[in-house]
């Protein structure tokens, strides 16, 4: 069995992470270079800037089977594109309010600032997110699309 | 002079006590001395305002033993000129309050001559009493 049938396994949360190219993605690479270990539940999509993340992507991820989503970019004031991360922050805050409104736990969506030097922070971010999302159980608020 | 910076006491440290009373952040002082340069009562002080602040930065508990806060006329000149925005007169007031709370007496009514007492304007007396009693 290569691609696990989730029903047969004990529940392993699936996290999709959107990382900006310059800070968070480089931070994730650094975690690798430093051989830090963190749970394999996270899958990364590299974007140039956290400002590229459309709130629709996050909904889509939940519809497709994710149990949690991380958006990570450069620290405030250090955005490679001046203020893309501020845009991301604004959009994510709005989205989180919206999700809260329809009863989705806010802990399933996490916005974080990770610099290219923060490999350890990235690994910890994954660890805590996986734990929190695991505690919340599988995401069931939306009907999943058939795989 | 040997200066010990540790605090063996279990009371609230003096610096913290003063910072709470005066609502000023003692740590931002960079010891430029501007407060002391212009202090009208400087000649009568046993430690200049910047020195008191320095002692507080180091947490020296004996800072309350200096007479300077009782010599301070609350003229506000130092506070107006502090480049770091520290309201030094408030620090002085806080030191007075700490002293008063530990039971010091700075009124000394007997030291004032009767004759002068009648000549002083009301505000001088009231102000003095207020400063000396908290």
């Amino acid at each position: 069995m290569l691609i696990g049938d989730r029903k047969q396994q004990s529940y392993e949360p699936r996290i999709v992470a959107f990382l900006c190219n310059w800070c968070a993605y480089a931070g994730a690479d650094l975690a690798g270079t430093q051989r830090l270990s963190y749970p394999p539940n996270v899958r990364v999509i590299r974007l140039m800037c956290s400002g590229r993340v459309d709130p629709g992507f996050i909904i889509e991820a939940f519809l497709e089977g994710a149990d949690g989503v991380i958006v990570a970019g450069c620290h405030p004031g250090e955005c490679h594109y001046e203020h893309g991360n501020r845009l991301a922050e604004r959009r994510m805050t709005t989205l989180q309010h919206l999700l809260g409104f329809i009863g989705i736990e806010q802990a399933r969506v996490r916005l974080a600032w990770v610099s290219a030097a923060e490999g350890r922070k990235f690994a910890q971010l994954i660890e805590t997110t996986v734990e929190e999302v695991r505690a919340l159980g599988p995401f069931q608020q939306f009907p999943r699309r058939a795989p | 002079m040997k200066t010990s910076m540790g605090s063996g006491s279990t009371r609230i440290p003096l610096r913290q006590q003063v910072e709470e009373l005066c609502e000023q952040s003692i740590g931002t002082c960079y010891q430029c001395g501007n407060c002391s340069s212009g202090c009208p009562m400087g000649p009568w002080m046993d430690a200049l305002p910047n020195q008191l602040i320095r002692r507080l930065q180091l947490g020296l508990e004996d800072t309350t033993r200096f007479a300077s806060p009782w010599v301070c006329a609350s003229c506000f000149a130092c506070g107006v000129r502090c480049p770091k925005g520290i309201d030094v007169p408030r620090v002085m007031e806080a030191l007075r309050v700490v002293g008063l709370r530990s039971g010091e007496d700075h009124i000394g009514p007997h030291t004032i001559e009767k004759k002068r007492l009648s000549q002083l304007p009301q505000i001088a007396l009231v102000a003095h009493m207020r400063k000396a009693t908290g």
């Binding site: 290569l2 691609i3 993605y25 394999p40 999509i45 590299r46 994710a66 845009l87 | 430690a47």
Partner: protein, 649 residues
Amino acid sequence: MNNRVGVFICHCGKNIARTVDVEALRKEAAGLPGVEWAEDDMYLCSDPGQQLIRERIAEQNLDAVVVAACSPTLHTTTFRRAVESAGVNPFRLEIANIREQCSWVHPGTAETTHKAAALVRSGVEKARRTQPLEPIHVGLQRAVVVIGGGVAGIQAALDIAEAGYPVHLVEQGPNLGGRMAQLSETFPTLDCSSCILTPKMVEVSHHPLVTIHTLAEVTDVEGSIGNFQVRIRQQPRYVIAEGCTGCGDCVPACPQVVPGEFDRGLGARKAIYIPFPQAVPFTYTLDREHCLNQGPLIICDRCAQACEPRAIDFDQQPSEELVEAGAIVLATGCDTLPLSHFREYGHDRHPDVIDGLMFERLLSASGPTHGEIRRPSDHRVPKSIAFVQCAGSRDPERGKAYCSQICCMYTAKHALLYHHAVPDGKVYIFYIDIRAGGKGYEEFVERVRAEDGINYIRGKVAKLIPKDGKLEVWGVDTLLGEQVKVEVDLVVLATALVPSQGIQELARVARVAIDGDGFLSEAHPKLRPVESQTRGIYLAGTAQGPRDISATVAHAAGAASKVLGLFSHDELVEEPTIARVNEALCRGCSFCVSVCPYDAISLHEGTAHVNETLCRGCGACTPACFAAALGPRGFEDDQILAQIRALAC
């Protein structure tokens, strides 16, 4: 959608293969929709590895490639070159990061291989949706506008012109030189300022590739890197530059006496004047504001009568010129906080309280006192001077929070020069800390400290009191813990360095950012200190922050080298991964316009338009568009959504 994707999986020796089951991964990949070929190799980045990819592209007629290996930051260029040489568009390469973000951070379990498979799947889904992209080629105007004619502007202009490119040097004042022209001698070497600056000014003015615009300002900047259109507004000089021989015959004829700006009011000039004898260009200037002839009415023409070459023209009008340039250098320099700022020091009411630049003029051989130090009130030689450092600097409450960096040094210089001129004079330097961080600087200050008669007193001055023709200085010696009161003949304030006036307006026009203190913002404080945040616009000298002459010159040379780097290409080749508008979908709502950090989007006839040289492909505009009408190439919505689908399950 393309369906001839090749997947290449790297073992990286054992780095990947130790934890990821490469064979299982290959099988999995081979079965994915759209995948024509899947293969693994020991070291893909090696020459044989690249050769393998090239061969398979040819054999299998692949049109997109996924490399599952290390992080894309490592070998994107390598693999792009490899696929390109085999005929696949380099933007049709995707890299699945199964080393840094998988094999190195997870144990050798099925879940790790499972994750690697998901990453490959995601790469394939994206690769299938990629389009061939071509780099954007933009023409390059190889000319530069340098704004500000101080030492920074002069240096940048010379470096660029020497490399063979035309420069327009725009100076708002009547002559070049800036602050440095006003200085006497310069720390730490005590070179005479005009002696080292004048040859540079002459050189720049004679350079065949440099066009000097004095009394000129930049009023508008259009375009972007490689192709700016710069509007230069020329104020009238009322003296025809080609006619004026610099004889100076006009000056004695003029009845109007005006305080001279160059001498900071310590000396006088006429309404027709040249600021200083070494001025470049050596053309006189008629200051219409102080001339008797206001407006068109000519009631005095004595200078014109005296001028034999007939160089005076009262009818000159402002003019404008539009210059094409590939790059712009901002070198607008600095000013100092005005004396009127210092109310506790009597602000500008006591004539014998002066600032450092005024003292420079008193020291200067060509200054109002011919280099003799005489105080303004009664022209006597001061027998004692107090220098007050950090006047307005390091004072977040009432001045500037920053350290002005140069005043510790020039105060030491002033004290030294004064002491040499008046050996029995007394000097008191009131300071908080001495900052002498440059090469040879501490040694210089030490030399000054060691001089007899120079007292360094640690404590800030609270107040100055004029008293019997002297000034009483209220200070403190914080090291002794005693108040200090001294009476002196002259007080020199080391006033804070501030950006030049008009910088805000220029920054707005040129669309560059300024910081909270009004200095121009660099792109990165450490790694890109001479670039502004707007591409193609560079910063030089004190316009970016306080610094001395040597640092200014180094900064300006850095800006020039950035310009030359830009000009070393035949044309600008821009990454094609920028935003593109689908005009059929755009509703012209302009939501995207306000979001773009680079002002790259504008509306033309109701449709958004992306400027290709300004856009950097961040993609921030895409989520703002409710019509799904624009997106950055290489990171389009459909690609990302496909990746999400591949990863989430």
